[in-house]
């Protein structure tokens, strides 16, 4: 009869979403393959010129990973709304925002983490110097959760609408501009041998802010979506 604690509930949610992702492992591979192919197109389009590729490598990898994450974003809450799982989640005794944070975490683990893992390969294909790789990965580690969180808010806001995929992209991409600027700034600074800690610190600060606010915004938006 005793109500489970928050840790138990969070673990149950996280386990559920990771199991669901594992049952559809093909979907996990899709953004990874997409990012690989898009990155491969750049040398073909621009010519295999080392200095040019080296200069654009950081930005290309960042934007490619952003677009790859966008592909997997609109499914974040849609299946839960369709099958009524979201209603059950809203009626659960735990705070909805926390449960949604677990869903966003699971989503980040299954879409962004594989992309971060292959990011050295992507950057290597574009001749990014090895010394810059750690900065690139650090920038990705901080910026991809932000994209997941920002995306989650917009997915929740567009939850009721049909064919929300394109609308989602149009809404999310402008919001990603500062994230891309700071992340690419850190990579470029490190490439030129300049201090890169400041943009990384900005990314970290923004991430902390979003970690707190985004789940609350998601919860409010989804309650409104159910109320319609």
């Amino acid at each position: 009869m005793s109500r489970p604690g928050l840790t138990t509930a969070c673990a149950a949610m996280l386990r559920r979403d990771l199991t669901l992702a594992w049952r559809r492992r093909g979907d996990i591979a899709m953004p990874v393959l997409y990012a690989l192919i898009v990155t491969m197109l750049f040398p073909f389009a621009l010519g295999p010129e080392d200095t040019l590729l080296e200069r654009i490598a950081g930005g290309v990898v960042l934007v490619t990973i952003l677009l790859a994450m966008l592909l997997a974003l609109d499914t974040m809450f849609s299946s839960d709304i369709e099958d009524g799982s979201l209603e059950q989640l809203v009626l659960a005794p735990q705070p909805l925002a926390l449960m949604l944070a677990m869903k966003i975490l699971a989503h980040w683990l299954t879409t962004a983490l594989p992309l971060i893992v292959i990011s050295p390969l992507l950057a290597g294909m574009l001749h990014l110097p090895t010394s810059v790789m750690p900065v690139l990965m650090l920038a990705l580690l901080l910026s991809t959760p932000m994209l997941s969180l920002l995306g989650a808010i917009l997915v929740a806001l567009t939850a009721g609408t049909r064919r929300s995929g394109m609308l989602l992209a149009l809404m999310l991409l402008p919001l990603c501009v500062p994230v891309v600027i700071f992340a690419a700034g850190a990579v470029a600074a490190s490439q030129q041998g300049l201090p890169w800690l400041a943009p990384i610190a900005w990314l970290g600060a923004a991430l902390v802010l979003l970690l707190v606010l985004a789940p609350l915004a998601c919860a409010a938006a989804l309650r409104i979506a159910l109320d319609a």
Binding site: M1, A12, M13, R15
Partner: protein, 215 residues
């Protein structure tokens, strides 16, 4: 002794509506709905298609906002924080993940709500007639079996008030008997339940309170 024990909670009014109304584009779906639901009582919500039965259920569950009138939970104006975990809602959408098995689905529900005393997951699945299907993905189950998997939540979770929207849909004769038995056991525990159905309900307990929906 047992009579005295059941007599006291009889007076506890779990849920009360006062002049409850709901409007869709300024057209009333239903209006001035008044009823009281006591612990140990079953409310049967009756009405034609489109009379707002599901809407009422969603309002009572806290999924829709109240347009007009007041809602009281245990004598206090209803707020979501007061009745968290005490209300169990079973709607048209069953809230089951198709890629998970019935037992995995129930584990999530239990992770959020906890177990009712003296229940286990396997016993609950056996009670709803799903033994042998515990590890089958829900997508491979029939509509009736999916419904039964959702009904297992009624056995497992410790909620006080059940809001069951068309619980008899898709069920065969033994399934209907199962719902009736679960309801009887729940009322005997001093739980309360609201059930919508436009079919005939053959309930073998005491006479349920009939709530008629009208605009």
């Amino acid at each position: 002794m047992s009579a005295a024990l059941t007599a006291v909670p009889d007076h506890v009014i779990l849920l009360e509506t006062r002049a409850l109304g709901f409007y869709r584009q300024d057209e009333p779906v239903f209006a001035s709905l008044n009823f009281r639901l006591r612990a140990g009582e079953l409310g049967l919500i009756e009405g034609d298609n489109g009379s707002g039965k599901t809407t009422l259920m969603r309002i009572l569950a806290g999924l829709l906002h109240v347009d007009e009138g007041e809602l009281y939970w245990r004598g206090q104006p209803l707020q979501r924080e007061h009745c968290l975990g005490e209300v169990l809602f079973l709607g048209h959408q069953l809230g089951l993940k198709a890629d998970l098995s019935p037992s995995e689905n129930l584990q999530v529900a239990v992770g959020l709500h906890g177990y009712r005393a003296q229940t286990t997951l396997s016993a609950a699945l056996a009670e709803v007639g799903l033994s042998g299907y515990e590890d089958e993905p829900v997508r491979r189950l029939s509509a009736g079996q999916k419904k039964r998997a959702a009904l297992a939540r009624l056995v497992l979770l410790p909620a006080k008030l059940w809001l069951l929207d068309e619980p008899y849909a898709n069920l065969d004769r033994t399934g209907i008997a199962l719902v009736n038995r679960l309801l009887e056991e729940h009322l005997a525990r001093d739980g309360a339940a609201l059930v919508t159905s436009h079919g005939t309900v053959s309930f073998h307990g005491g006479e349920p309170q009939r709530i008629r929906m009208h605009a």
